[in-house]
Symmetry: C2
Subunit: 97 residues, 2 copies
């Protein structure tokens, strides 16, 4: 079921400005930027593999870079909450805090 | 079941340095900092409510601040992947990219 899409949340800390902007532009091609260094994506397995492959050269562990990837089931996606400036790409309702 | 703990992933974009450091220090008291502005927490309902209440005054929507909260089921928590500098607080294995 190579075509079936899953929801991924991808967050990164990238030390160098040059690598960080490269990571951001790669991520823009795979998902929605919901915060400065946090993206929400819906990807099938092939696209997920190609995303990780494209990111790898720009994540320098030795310099303190890190990337975190959370694969969320649809129940968890539907419970996501947000408050503030960034509209929700999947139109979940904003919480009031 | 007020005591039952759930896993929350909390990410924020806070424009002002002063508010951002206040949000970070509040979050340090509720969870683990896994990236610069991303925290993993295990909270019961009461602690979750108190976290949101403490954060609220420091999230200025009008200035472009935003906060995103994802509540993850244990299956999604176990699938989390990371690569890089930040050790995983729940000792999930690091992926190789």
């Amino acid at each position: 079921m190579i075509g079936m899409k899953s929801f991924y949340l991808v967050g990164y800390d990238i030390v160098s400005d040059k690598r960080r902007s490269k990571v951001a532009s790669i991520m823009e091609s795979f998902g929605y930027r919901v915060q400065y260094s946090l993206f929400e994506c819906r990807l099938d397995r092939r696209d997920f593999g190609s995303m990780v492959k494209q990111l790898a050269p720009y994540v320098d562990k030795g310099q303190g870079d890190s990337i975190r990837i959370y694969r969320l089931c649809e129940a968890c996606v539907s419970k996501a909450m947000y408050y503030g400036a960034c509209p929700d790409p999947w139109e979940r309702p904003e919480i009031i805090i």
